[in-house]
Amino acid sequence: MTTIPAQYPDPRLTQTEESRQRARRKNVRNFFKSLFSHALISFFGLFFLVPFLWMLITAFKSNEDVFHTPPRWLPYDNVRVEVNGQELPLYNVITPQGEKQLAAVKIVEGVGTFVDPQHPDRVVEYEIQQGETKIATPVMHVSFRWQNFPDAMNRASRPSVDASFWVYFKNSLIIAFFTIVGTLLSNAPVAYAFARLKFPGRDILFVIVLATMMLPYQVTMIPLYLFFNNFLHWGDTFLPIIVPAFFANAYDVFLLRQFFRTIPEEMCDAARVDGASEWQIFTQLVIPLSVPVLATVTVFTFLWAWNDFTGPLLFLTSPKNFTMALGLQDFQSQRTLVWNQLMAAATVFTIPIVVAFFFAQKTFIQGIKLTGSKE
């Protein structure tokens, strides 16, 4: 707090000593005000930042460190030494000759077999714990266990299942891709009709579109489930999740219509005078002008499809068809949990969205504002 920004006002304007002092006081006040603001924003920011970091930190923890109490803020791992061509964890062992650092060959039922790294031929056995005192404690150091990521991705949600998180990741990508394609293809013409075409019945239909936003998914969920499973026999395929995306939805129609209405009507009229059909105006004039909003729709559809849990839960039953969301939930529902791998998988699940966010930050914010505020 020794440096105070010395941005005095122009001396020609502050002639008197009194006004100079006043300016200095104002600077000091502004400095503390901004310091206080930073402190406040950072303090509440911790609530958002720390859990996020905790996911990453846990993803790098070793099995020995995950359940350490109290939890440690950095990932720790055993210090390992090479003895006789084997990587062995190092322990602090209290021996009759004093405290020594020994490598553990194996620890079975409270009895550890140790070897002295300096003298690989000397193998000794000690009980890990004698009464209250711990005889052998592992030597730990800060270490990021990258291996958790391949371990997590190569495993399945439960041991008996013949699939892996790579498969879930691929399934999520496939579903997201086709959902985006369907959404882009189907919503734009509908939105164009509501925004720029004049025909009888348009407005009442648009009110119906908006009314469907109010309808909770729970109302249509059961008949849709029966329709897809028992009538079309699409159970346990991606089709019930992907196909509806090809038939427009109220949110995207509304979003696109709002944007199409900002395109000057005169441009469309000019094209009409030149003899362009409505389809030509739509594909050759309106669509090229709408790239930003189509990007918004793409990003949000990806976000939605990637995040979706209920759809896959209803329709995907065999583990080879699970999405990341479903696989992660299934993994989490196991009795014995490896939290570091779980967090590693959750991180991989989150990464595509975070990457998309940093590439298209403006698009994200714009989309939220478009859907979230008044016309």
Binding site: P51, W54, S186, D203, T212, F247, M324, Q329, S333
Partner: protein, 314 residues
């Protein structure tokens, strides 16, 4: 908000007259453009709506034929203890969770609207959690709330608070879920933030010249100016909370739905359980329609009350 006013012409009462040839042509073109939506509406919205209405008056186990029972499902519903438990749990989230989220996001938006350096960075920090997928964020919070190795109780321990057992204590499971919701409220913050940026500077300066202090400017200028946004966030928040499902489904871990002691048995969770675990499709359809009616009534009620406290500029 102005959804019903957003169309150009009055649509009600409808005027019936014969269409001209030109109108007929326009109608044909219009309907061609609307084709994707029309099919989707008929197949994926209207048909399922009517079907679930029919199921709601029947006993239906998917494989056996419908058995017509009239209003029995609805009567049973109101005598079902689980229904009232689920309704209570859901209302708890709607009445406590939603207003708390609005208040907290308004507060955060004010912080992020302060004129300080590095605000772009802070905004990313506040927003980032909201794009973490629901299942991932729920699992992360299960880990944070873990009684043995969770960091929340550790941090609470630093300031001398002995944290509760969030996941297995029925009194604390819903506050835990509300906290998870607060963590991911970035969208609401952004919407408030854009509203704050629209609040006219001249109005605030005029108030300042009149001697209004910070709090008075906030309460008498900013809050009324963003009231339409509050209404929007309130209504979307309430609608979403009545359908609260994925978080609760994941939050129980390997336990039964509703763990601990049905304290996270929300309306949609009970509906899912009835429909897909107990295969009581008719009963679940009745639940869905009751939910629809509750949501409709709440929305209309909020819109009605809102006339008194929202201010539309211009």
């Amino acid at each position: 908000m102005d959804e019903l006013r957003m169309t150009d012409q009055k649509i009600w009462p409808p005027r019936f007259r014969k269409w001209s040839r030109r109108e007929r042509d326009n109608f044909k073109i219009g309907m061609l453009f609307l084709l994707p939506w029309t099919i989707g509406f008929l197949v994926f919205t209207l048909y399922p709506m009517l079907a679930s209405l029919v199921y709601s008056f029947a006993v239906y186990h998917a494989r056996q034929p419908l058995e017509w029972v009239g209003l029995k499902n609805y009567i049973d519903l109101f005598q079902d203890d689980l229904f009232w438990t689920a309704l209570y749990n859901t209302l708890y989230m709607v009445v406590i969770g939603v207003p708390l989220t609005l208040l907290a996001s308004f507060f955060c938006a004010i912080l992020l609207n302060l004129k300080v350096r590095g605000q772009a960075f802070y905004r990313v920090v506040y927003f980032l959690p909201s794009i973490v997928p629901t299942v991932a964020s729920t699992i992360l919070w299960l880990w944070i709330l873990n009684p043995q190795a969770g960091i929340l109780n550790t941090v609470l321990g630093y300031i001398g608070i002995h944290g509760p057992n969030w996941m297995s204590n029925p009194a604390w499971s819903k506050p835990g879920l509300i906290m998870l919701g607060l963590w991911g409220m970035g969208n609401t913050i952004i919407i408030y933030l854009s509203g704050l940026q629209d609040v006219s500077v001249s109005l605030l300066e005029a108030a300042e010249l009149d001697g209004a202090n910070w709090w008075q400017r906030l309460w008498h200028v900013t809050v009324p100016m963003v009231s339409p946004i509050t209404l929007f966030n309130l209504i979307t928040g309430v609608i979403a909370m009545f359908q609260y499902f994925a978080q609760a489904y994941v939050f129980r871990g390997f336990q039964n739905l509703g763990y601990p002691l049905n304290s996270t048995l929300f309306y949609s969770v009970l509906l899912y359980q009835n429909a897909f675990q107990w295969l009581k499709m008719g009963y679940a359809s009745a639940m869905a329609w009751v939910l629809f009616i509750i949501i409709l009534v709440c929305t209309l009620l909020l819109l009605k009350i809102s006339d008194k406290f929202t201010y539309y500029a211009g």
